[in-house]
């Protein structure tokens, strides 16, 4: 602190005191989060110790027969990954479209209402999504979408066979709807944070609107958008209630995307109350551990990617 003649004034003790209290409090909050995460891992590891000993058969075995002590969760892992992937494949382009529209192309008057409506999607409870999906979306898809999907893409085994309204594909579609608000909100912030100098530079070089957005704005906002996608993946991978309504809860790897499947989260939700033996409970806790590890790995990879992108961008800016 300097006074009006440039001399340093001594800090008064109470303000320095307040500063250390502030530092201490934030340290407590930060370490409590770390502690909580470590506690999760610890609890999941000890809770699943019985079946962890059985080795990798948990995620490579495809028979789930808890009454006879066979715990192969590969169908559930497959279901979780594939539904999240479908959710992202459909959801990411849509969210980016929404984000780009709101941030770059929409007239000023439309920005708030559209943004508000998209974020309203995030306020809908998961169970309501499941209900709506089962009664409105699934019949709609079965009548109008899936038959055409099968007609044009039916040569692929992924879209062949009997069409089910509750299926991997339906669960993926509802996940796409659920991740749109997250990815579009964060992407929109990332796009709006791009300095105008980037856009102006592109226009100065003669770019059209779409060329400007595609070349300068999107690439500058890349790290934020990637962060949004990984967050969306985390949400989609762990989503329970909406998926349980839409996936059919069938513990096999289906031969096509239009058949029912199972996810790790639905498995835990459906079978926890039924798990009467210690091995059964341990296997469900292990499913939770797998869920946590995959989400953890994806978040970690995401952050690595973002850090690299930010470094690249900073290097490019100072060329």
């Amino acid at each position: 602190m300097t006074d009006n003649q440039g001399r340093t004034k001594p800090r008064r003790a109470s303000r320095a005191g307040a500063d250390s209290v502030f530092r201490f409090l934030t340290l407590v909050f930060a370490s409590s989060i770390t502690f909580l995460t470590l506690l999760y891992f610890y609890e999941l590891l000890t809770g699943s110790s019985l079946t962890l000993k059985l080795g990798p058969g948990f995620i490579t075995g495809s028979t789930w027969d808890p009454l006879r002590g066979v715990f192969g969760a590969l169908p559930m892992l497959y279901g979780s990954l594939v539904t999240a992937a479908i959710g992202l494949i459909i959801g990411v382009p849509t969210s980016l479209g929404v984000a780009i529209f709101i941030s770059e192309l929409a007239p000023q008057r439309l920005k708030f209402p559209i943004g508000f409506l998209v974020e309203l999607l995030a306020a809908v409870p998961s169970v309501v999504y499941g209900f709506w999906g089962l009664f409105i979306l699934a019949p709609f898809l079965t009548t109008y979408i899936y038959p055409y999907l099968q007609r044009y893409l039916g040569f692929l085994p992924l879209f062949g066979g009997q069409i089910y309204g509750v299926s991997i594909m339906s669960a993926g579609i509802i996940l796409a709807i659920m991740v749109i608000p997250i990815i579009s909100a964060i992407s929109r912030d990332a796009l709006q944070a791009v300095p105008d100098s980037q856009r102006e530079a592109a226009y100065a070089l003669g770019a059209t609107k779409s060329e400007a957005v595609g070349s300068s704005v999107l690439s500058y906002a890349r790290s934020g958008i990637i962060a949004a996608i990984f967050l969306g993946f985390g949400r989609a991978f762990g989503e329970t209630m909406a998926v349980t309504f839409m996936i059919g809860n069938s513990p096999v790897i289906p031969s096509s995307l239009l058949k029912p499947g199972y996810t790790l989260a639905s498995l835990i939700a459906n079978e926890f109350t039924e798990a009467t033996t210690k091995a059964y409970v341990s296997s469900l806790v292990e499913a939770g551990l797998v869920l946590l590890l995959v989400t953890f790995a994806s978040t970690f990879l995401g952050r690595l990617l973002i850090r690299r992108l930010i470094r690249e961008r900073e290097a490019a800016t100072y060329l």
């Binding site: 009454l67 109350t273 039924e274």
Partner: protein, 387 residues
């Protein structure tokens, strides 16, 4: 220099916040002041059934089969005690009820499946578990075939083969043979079963095992069994309500649920062939006839199964559903409240049965239940009315 204003203008933000707050206030008004389910408050003119100085909360859960009438009983009983006793019943399935009573999470549980004696041995630690028949109902076989408005007939054997996935198409000759006047489509049968531990599953699998003793090796008898998944995947849902929902929403599906869900939602329930060769839809009379056919057996052993009962009027997939409660209670208040509640259920509570599609308990069973209720005690003291 970046002069573009990002974000929303402040007045607009404030306006939006005001709108949201108003909506939240309006919504909470509707929720808080519309009263509990059923509405209205009990009249204060009548004396409370029990005289507790402090309110008591009972936790319970289990069978979704009994849930429709259980919620009615709870509402009425809470009024009778003028909210001095409140009961919270969560219909997570009979399996959850059984584990809940063993872990002492629940003060009482609902289960359509009797508890295997070995499990009682392992978990009782010296206590006595009472299994008290509280309601009598039927397991309806629900189906949804677009274009078929008639009632389908199934024999026990055909139904069992469908659930085993040996019969996979609706127009299979075995089904067509017992439904001569119906045009059945050439579509795959989508089987829906329970994803949670269910007494309704127990009743159905018990019935299948009666018909075909190899069922228990192939699939099993119990609240949670190993349903086949090939050649076609089967769908699974939580609760009788969940299965009914799924059948309602899925064309060409078949499932099983408490008959309440069939009658109240207008979903088609099939007519099943009983041991006398008659095809009967689930009904109050059918359940009552099944119970009557096995009356003496049930009086000797409260958990005797009543599936596949003899007699032309018996609906073959009927079952009692039981209240599980420990005889020795941890407090006088709990012993008193539980005794009063279960006494109410088996006596005045039975008047609600017909309108919710359960058969009332036969009077001999009510007497049996009363003798079981008298065993609920705190330190040897019973709170049952002196009859």
């Amino acid at each position: 220099m970046n002069v573009r204003r990002t974000g929303i203008s402040r007045p607009r933000l404030i306006g939006a916040a005001v709108v949201v707050i108003l909506i939240v206030i309006a919504a909470s008004y509707l929720f808080l002041f519309s009263g509990k389910i059923g509405g209205g408050s009990p009249s204060s003119a009548t004396q409370s059934l029990l005289n507790f100085t402090s309110p008591l909360q009972l936790n319970a859960g289990g069978s979704s089969f009994v849930n429709p009438i259980m919620q009615t009983w709870i509402y009425e009983f809470q009024n009778m005690t003028q909210q001095q006793v409140t009961i919270d019943y969560t219909p997570l399935g009979s399996g959850a009820g059984i584990s809940g009573i063993f872990s002492s999470l629940y003060d009482y549980a609902g289960s359509d499946a009797p508890v295997p004696p070995a499990d009682i041995q392992a978990n009782a630690s010296g206590r006595t578990l009472l299994e008290i028949p509280e309601a009598l109902g039927s397991v309806a076989i629900l189906y949804n075939i677009p274009g078929v408005t008639q009632t389908l007939n199934f024999s026990g054997k055909v139904l069992e083969q469908i659930f085993l996935e040996n019969i996979t198409m609706w127009n299979d000759p075995a089904i067509q043979q017992i439904n001569p006047g119906v045009t059945l489509p050439a579509q795959t049968i989508v089987v829906v079963h329970r994803s949670d531990g269910s007494g309704t599953t127990y009743a159905l699998t018990s019935y299948f095992n009666d018909i075909d003793p190899t069922w228990s090796q192939k699939v099993g008898v119990g609240t949670f069994v190993n349903w086949p998944n090939s050649p076609n995947p089967e769908l699974a849902d939580a609760g009788s309500g969940g299965v009914a929902l799924q059948v309602n929403a899925t064309s060409y599906s078949i499932g099983y649920a408490d008959s309440y869900y069939a009658f109240s939602n207008g979903i088609k329930a099939a007519a099943i062939e009983n041991s006398a060769g008659a095809f009967l839809k689930p009904s109050i009379a059918g359940a009552a006839a099944s119970a009557a056919a096995f009356a003496s057996k049930v009086e000797a052993n409260a958990t005797y199964p009543i599936m596949d009962a003899p007699g032309a009027a018996s609906y073959p997939i009927s079952t009692y559903t039981y209240i599980l409660v420990w005889a020795n209670q941890q407090s006088a208040q709990k012993a008193d409240a539980l005794t009063a509640f279960i006494w109410y259920i088996v006596n005045q509570g039975q008047s609600y049965s017909p309108r919710l599609f359960y058969a009332p308990l036969p009077s001999a069973i009510v007497t049996l239940d009363e003798s079981l209720i008298k065993q609920i005690n705190y330190n040897g003291q019973s709170y049952a009315p002196q009859t």
